[in-house]
Point group: C2
Chain length 168, copies 2
């Protein structure tokens, strides 16, 4: 099935995004994102802030707004891309996502944890329900963020010290 | 330790973000996000798009850029908020995050999975390294997105049908 080196090379790929964040304002963070693999794209300039209740100036959305928008946009993009590839007509698409977390005070700080993720997909299509359901299920497997949330991921942290980076 | 009903009520809380996504442009998605609990905030207007290689118009960042920016902004926000509460001086903060995914073609569509998450934290502080490390480790537990990625989450999907919402 190979059509040559380029096609064969794209049977598998590593996708990498980097983000450089700088603290600005009271709680604002400026976030410069690049796609590094398999191509170079960006920079994409984003920012987060907090409202006045949390000591910020409200100049940008809070981090969780970017997260929930990223999840919603990712599943929508996958549905739209796969509709063409799977031959499913798609005359309109809206998605409503709801994400809940638990928040608990621990002394002067707090801890958090995820509670629920719900994604409602409304597709207008001339195709039968079974074909539309198959499209959504394929999109779930192609959605980078949904696949990430479905696994227990390890996040490595390092801190900068005078003698170099130190694993936490 | 309770200072009354309001303070007691904030020992635990449910945090909820909703996102309403509409398909616009070739691959662009407009994403309207609201915080619903414990307060109402928003709407926060965000968008995703794809570059021309993926059939989009490049009018907004790709979904993964929002995701990686959300993760980076979340840990930075937690570090800044907790520095005050934990009495750690913080004269400057930058964070560099790198996230990798595997991508694999499956016939005409593809599947994806997370590979690695790396977060490098550079804090300028007059305080000893051990105090700064404790701050970062506390921030990890307070970071909604990091805690979400560390668990195996179930994402419920429903599709709209003529007879109502159907679980997938």
């Amino acid at each position: 099935m190979s059509e040559g080196k380029d096609s064969a090379a794209m049977q598998r790929a590593l996708v990498q995004f980097d983000c450089h964040g700088t603290a600005s304002g009271k709680m604002r963070n400026d976030l410069r994102v690049h796609m590094r693999k398999p191509f170079n794209e960006g920079p994409f300039e984003l920012a987060t802030d907090e409202g006045s209740f949390h000591g910020g100036d409200g100049t940008a959305p809070p981090p969780l707004a970017l997260f929930v928008a990223g999840l919603t946009g990712c599943i929508m993009t996958q549905i739209r891309a796969f509709a063409k590839r799977m031959g499913v007509t798609l005359t309109n698409l809206t998605v409503d996502a709801r994400v809940q977390w638990d928040w608990e005070a621990k002394g002067r700080i707090y801890e958090t944890g995820p509670r629920s993720f719900e994604v409602d997909v409304a597709i207008e299509s001339d195709d039968p329900e079974i074909k539309v359901a198959a499209l959504i299920n394929a999109a779930r497997k192609g959605c980078f963020i949904e696949q990430t949330l479905g696994r227990q991921n390890t996040i490595r942290h390092r801190m900068k010290t005078p003698t170099g980076w130190k694993e936490l």
